[in-house]
Amino acid sequence: MNDATGASRSDDQLLDAVAELWTRLDPPPDDLADGVLARLAVRDLEYELLTLVDSDAALAGVRSATMLRAPEETGTWSLEYLGPGFRVQLRISRRQRQARLDGWVSPPQPMTVMLSSVLRKGGVLEAQVSDSGRFEFPVAPAGACRMTFVTESGGRPQATPPFWI
């Protein structure tokens, strides 16, 4: 600060005064820090949702429960999801009461893929994305499932919305 001599403030002092002014004009919400701590506390439960961009035949999430209970149902369905920096194509094949799931990640990148049943807890299947971007679950669970992708660099997991196998 200057004094009676009238010397002007340094750039940093003047900017500090500007910063101080804004602190008073535009204070943060009182619970800003609490909100941060609360969000971090539940962070482990968080994942980012991938976006369904394409599907054929039976649509993700809209196959009826009746169809699900038809164990003889056979066929192939494909789904495609878009995430931050990657795209995932899934092909679900059902024959003879068995389901198989093949996937492709593009561009290929090292990731762990987890396939879990939405309703039945536990029993999470894991696969690694290969150098060419492929992964597979030769025996997939039936019913509503969700697939979660975890990159090696950390960050939030990316998960698909539920889809039916």
Binding site: D12, Q13, L14, L15, L21, D26, R43
Partner: protein, 199 residues
């Protein structure tokens, strides 16, 4: 972040950088209270940094939270406790610009509305009581060109940001930030002198 670190040297006697560095060190040594202190000390600073980019309050709060999540995810890569405030502010500023660009694409907003949610200069915040000096400073800031107001708020918030970041925010060449900052400060001093205030 492998950028030129922001300066944390000259930002006022009340600047919490030292407290933040100590809290960060305690956290890295296993004391969770250190993390909570870090959050409480620096969240208000991040708020100013993010709001200076022009985000509305709701998005600003979200960006502050995202920035802390990024810190937890990348804590291993931060080697200098002294640089923690700079790391957080740089991350917050970039995330704020990313979010700001995204929301502009989603919903074109009139430039005036986007202009930092600046309170109206004719009615300095009824609910905030400013002393004479602050009132004068506020009035003088209001006489500067909009770009100067934006730039001064950005460079004033948090540790003094590096010019690369400021340039990308304002769409100006890096080399012009220093001189522009100088001209804006000169204009502000001029207005303060005309008003008989502390320059």
């Amino acid at each position: 972040m492998s950028e030129v670190p922001e300066s944390t040297a000259a930002t006022g006697p009340g600047a919490p950088w030292g407290v933040a560095a100590a809290a960060f060190t305690r956290w890295r040594e296993g004391d969770d209270d250190g993390f909570e202190e870090l959050v409480r000390v620096l969240s208000p600073v991040l708020w100013q940094v993010v709001r200076a980019t022009g985000l509305d309050r709701e998005r600003a709060e979200d960006v502050v939270q995202t920035t802390w999540i990024a810190l937890v995810d990348h804590a291993e890569s931060i080697t200098s406790a002294q640089g923690i405030a700079a790391w957080l502010c740089t991350s917050a500023r970039r995330e704020a610009w990313r979010v700001g660009r995204q929301s502009t694409r989603e919903r074109p907003v009139d430039d005036q509305v986007l202009a930092h949610g600046l309170p109206d200069h004719d009615s300095p915040e009824e609910q905030v009581v400013l002393d004479d000096e602050a009132t004068l400073l506020w009035a003088c800031l209001g006489k500067l060109p909009d770009r100067c107001q934006k730039l001064l708020r950005i460079v004033a918030s948090g540790p003094r940001p590096n010019y690369t970041d400021v340039a990308s925010s304002l769409g100006m060449p890096v080399g012009s930030i220093g001189p522009t900052r100088g001209r804006c400060l000169d204009k502000l001093r001029h207005e303060l002198t005309l008003s008989g205030g502390v320059r």
